[in-house]
Symmetry: C2
Subunit: 457 residues, 2 copies
C-alpha cells in the first residue's frame, strides 16, 4: 500500500538544493528516489541529462489513441538557510498538527507527491486505465530552469503528442478555496545607464554647466507614467487582452479586502490605473516598474559630487497577448525619444518572458479551437474540486511570471492546468516551510478524479 505522507517524508530527506554544488549528492539521491518511486508504480522512466541536473520523463500507457496528460513538477528545493531559524531541521521532516515541516514540503515535493500518489491510487484501482500519463520532473526550477527550454526543443515532437500539462506549483488563498491559475504575466527587462562627464566632478567647480546624469535618469523615469498610473508609451496597451466580466466576477469572488491589502503593503494609498481594482490591476494589466536606481554618493552624510554615471533598472510585466519583442521596441523607442541630447546612454538588454493565458471552456473569450481534452480537464477539475473542497475553484490570472509555462506553450503548443495547492502560510523559500496535510489529502482525491475523468471512454 502506497503511503503518501511516508513517501513525502522520504522525498524531503534528500536535500536537493539545486543552486548549491555542495548538495550534489542530495540532488542525485532525490533523483534516484523519484525514478524509483515512478518505476514502482509502473512507469517507464527515462533520465535525461542536461548541463546540470537531469530531467525525469516517466510514462505509462502506450496506446496513441488514448488521451495524454503530462504532469509537471520539480525535485529540487530552495536553500534552507538560515538554518538556525528552523524549529525542526530542514531536511528531517516532522509532522506537527496537520502540517508536515521540511524544506520543499510545499515547493514542490508535497504538491508533486500529491499527484504521484493520486496516480498510484488510481492505477492500483484501475491498472488498465485507458490514459497515457507522462511525469515531467525537472531539477533546476529553483535556479530558473536554465536547461528546460533546450529540453523542450529536443523533446518537442514527443511532448506535442500530449493534450495538456497538469501541475501544482501555484498557491491557493485558503484551505477551502482552490485557485486554478489561468494566466501569468510576461516580462521585458533592461538597464539604462546614462553618462554625463567622463569622471565624477566637484559640484562646486563644475556645478551649473552640465546636465547631471541623475537628472537625465529622473526625467526619463518621470516621463514613463501618466499621473493616473498608466504607462505613458504610445501603443503599450494595444495588444492587451480585454478583461471579461467573468474574470472580474472571479476576482470579486476571491473576496479579498482592499483595506486589508493596503495595510499588508503598508502604503498610504493605492495608485492603480482608473477602472481597475488593485486585485484586477495586478492580474490583467501590464506594468512598467523601476527595480533599482543608482548613481553618485550613497553613503552617510554628504559628498558634493556630480556623478559621471547613473542608471535605472526597468522591468515591464506583460499580460496576454502582448509580445515581449514589440514591448521592448516601444520601450526603447520611448527611451531614445526622451533622453536628453546632452548626455550619452546605453540600454542593456536583460531577459524577457512571454505572458501566458489559458481560458477555461464556456467563457465569452474561450478560443474556438480549444482542445476537447483540455476542456474536459477543466470541467472535471471544476466538479472534482467542488466535491472534495466544498467550493468550485476560482479561475484567476496571476501577476507573477512562470517562464516555463509560456515556454511549454511556445515550443509544444500545450496549455497548462495549474491547480494551486500551497497556502500563504506555507513559508515557501523561508525557514519552517510546511505543507498542509488536509490540503494534500483533498488534493490527492481531486487529482485522482480529474485524471480518471480524462481516460478514454
Amino acid at each position: 500500500m502506497f503511503d503518501p505522507i511516508e513517501k513525502l517524508k522520504e522525498f524531503i530527506r534528500h536535500p536537493s538544493v539545486s543552486a548549491d554544488p555542495s548538495f550534489n549528492a542530495g540532488m542525485k539521491s532525490a533523483l534516484e528516489f523519484t525514478t524509483g518511486l515512478l518505476d514502482s508504480i509502473g512507469f517507464k522512466v527515462e533520465v535525461i541529462k542536461t548541463d546540470l541536473h537531469p530531467i525525469v520523463l516517466a510514462t505509462r500507457g502506450d496506446n496513441p489513441a488514448w488521451p495524454h496528460v503530462i504532469i509537471y513538477g520539480h525535485y529540487d528545493v530552495q536553500p534552507a538557510d538560515p538554518l538556525n531559524l528552523w524549529k525542526s531541521p530542514a531536511f528531517e521532516p516532522e509532522v506537527r498538527g496537520n502540517r508536515l515541516y521540511g524544506r520543499g514540503a510545499a515547493d514542490n515535493k508535497g504538491p508533486l507527491m500529491t499527484h504521484i500518489s493520486a496516480v498510484a491510487r488510481l492505477l492500483e484501482r484501475r491498472p488498465d486505465l485507458p490514459l497515457r500519463i507522462t511525469f515531467m520532473i525537472e531539477g533546476e526550477e529553483e535556479m530558473g530552469s536554465p536547461s528546460f527550454p533546450k529540453f523542450l526543443e529536443v523533446y518537442s515532437e514527443r511532448l506535442k503528442e500530449a493534450d495538456f500539462v497538469f501541475l501544482s506549483d501555484t498557491g491557493l488563498p485558503s484551505a477551502d478555496q482552490v485557485v486554478i491559475t489561468c494566466g501569468l504575466r510576461g516580462l521585458v527587462l533592461c538597464d539604462v545607464v546614462v553618462t554625463g562627464a567622463k569622471s565624477d566632478l566637484h559640484s562646486g567647480l563644475h556645478g551649473g554647466v552640465l546636465r547631471n546624469p541623475i537628472q537625465a535618469v529622473a526625467e526619463l523615469c518621470a516621463s514613463l507614467h501618466t499621473p493616473d498610473g498608466r504607462v505613458a508609451i504610445d501603443g503599450f496597451y494595444d495588444d492587451v487582452m480585454p478583461v471579461e466580466e467573468w474574470e472580474r466576477e472571479q476576482i470579486r469572488k476571491l473576496g479579498a479586502d482592499t483595506e486589508e491589502y493596503r495595510n499588508f503593503l503598508g502604503i498610504r494609498a493605492f495608485h492603480t490605473p482608473p477602472g481597475f481594482t488593485p486585485f484586477e490591476a495586478t492580474r490583467v494589466l501590464p506594468t512598467l516598474e523601476f527595480n533599482g536606481i543608482g548613481g553618485g554618493y550613497q553613503g552617510e552624510g554628504t559628498k558634493t559630487v556630480i556623478p559621471s554615471k547613473a542608471f535605472v533598472k526597468i522591468s515591464c510585466r506583460l499580460v496576454a497577448n502582448q509580445k515581449p519583442a514589440k514591448i521592448r521596441e516601444l520601450l526603447y523607442g520611448a527611451i531614445h525619444a526622451r533622453m536628453p541630447k546632452d548626455v550619452t546612454y546605453e540600454i542593456i538588454d536583460q531577459h524577457e518572458g512571454t505572458p501566458y493565458v489559458v481560458v477555461p471552456p464556456d467563457r465569452a473569450n474561450t478560443p474556438k479551437d480549444q482542445s476537447p481534452v483540455l476542456a474536459s480537464a477543466f470541467r472535471a477539475a471544476d466538479t472534482a474540486i467542488a466535491e472534495v473542497f466544498g467550493k468550485p475553484p476560482l479561475y484567476l490570472r496571476e501577476g507573477g511570471s512562470v517562464p516555463i509555462i509560456a515556454d511549454i506553450k511556445r515550443v509544444t503548443g500545450l496549455d497548462s492546468v495549474m491547480m494551486g495547492l500551497f497556502l500563504p502560510e506555507d513559508n515557501l523559500h523561508a525557514p519552517n516551510e510546511s505543507f498542509n496535510l488536509d490540503v494534500m489529502e483533498k488534493g490527492m482525491r481531486a487529482s485522482e478524479k480529474i485524471i480518471e475523468s480524462l481516460a478514454a471512454k
Copy 2:
C-alpha cells in the same frame, strides 16, 4: 638669512596629516616648527588649544593705531596614500626642475611659507614697520575646520580689531596669471528618503497597485529644473547678486576656451541657463544638484523587486547674497508641495554654508562702506602682482565653497583677500603634489609689496 625653500622643505618633513591619529606626532612637530619659525622672526606666539589640533595665533606690532592684517594658513595636510604612486617619498621633499615635491607643498605649506618668508624679509628690511600682523594658522583645514567656528566666536573681539584677512589657499590658472578670488558659493544640503510599501515587494505579485518610491523620487527630481537648466523653485533666484559687466569682463579675460572645457569634462553639450557662459554659470549662478540617488536592486542582472525605499541627495550651491535658511525653506517647500501623496517621505537636514563675496574697490557694485585698508590692499595687490607677474590679477568669484571664509565674515565682519598661488598641475590631494618655485618666488615679492603698502604712512 631666511632661506624660504629650505624652510619649506623642513616644514614638509613634518608629516602633519590631521585626519589620521597615527600622525599625531607629525602634527605636533609641524606645530612646533611653525611656532618656532614665527618666534624666530619676531612674533609673539600663542598656541590655542582646541578639541583636536591647536590653532596658532602670532602677532607683531602693538600700536592699536596701525593698520592690522591677519594672514591665514594651515599647517595640516591631506593623507599621502597611495604611497606607491609617489616618485619621491611624500614627506621627503625633493626639488626636481623648478618644482618642490612633497605632501603639502602646494596645500598649504608652500603658499603659507610664501607669506611667512615675505614678512620675514620685510621685517628684516624694516624692523619698525608701522603695521600689525597676525598669523592665524589652523591644523584642521583638511578635516573641514571643525574647531574653527568656535575659535572665531571665542576670539572674535580680538580678531575684529584687524582690517582684513590675507591668504593664499586658492588656485591660479597659469604661472603668469594670478587670480584674486572674490567670491565663493555657499551650500545647502539635504537627503530625501521616500518610502512606499513597508518592505520590498515582488514586482509580479504586487506590481501595478502602488507608486514605486523610485518613481516618486524621479518625479520630484525631474520637477526641480526647467528645460533650459534653471532651478524650478519660485523665489530661488530672488536674492542672487546681479552679475556686473566688470565681472563678465574679468571672466572673458581668463581666456578659457569653451570647447576645451567641454572636452575636459567629456560631455556632449553644455546645459547652462540662458544668458550665461559655462565660465560665468559656475561663478555667479546658484545650482541645485543631485549628488546621489539610490533604491532597489543595483547589482548585475535583474531582481524584479519594487523597493520599499528610494532616496536622493540634493545640494544647492548658493551665490551672494542668498541665505541658506531661506533656500532651505524654499527647497523643502517645493518637496512638500510636489511629493505624491501616496508615499511617505522624510527630509534629512545636512550641513549648509553661507556664500561669500568681496567686491574690489572702484567697481559699480563696491559697497560704499568698504574698509579703506581693504581697498588699499586690493589696489596694492593689483599693482604688485602686475609688476611681479607681468599681468594684473583677475578678480573672480569661484564655484567652490570655503566655509571658513564666510565664517570669518559672519563672526568678525572681516573680508578676505584670497591670492591664488597653486596651479592646476600641482596635484593637490593627489600623489606627487608639488609647488612651483617660480610662483613661490614671485608670490613672495608680491606679498612683501602688498603687506608693506598696508603700513601706516
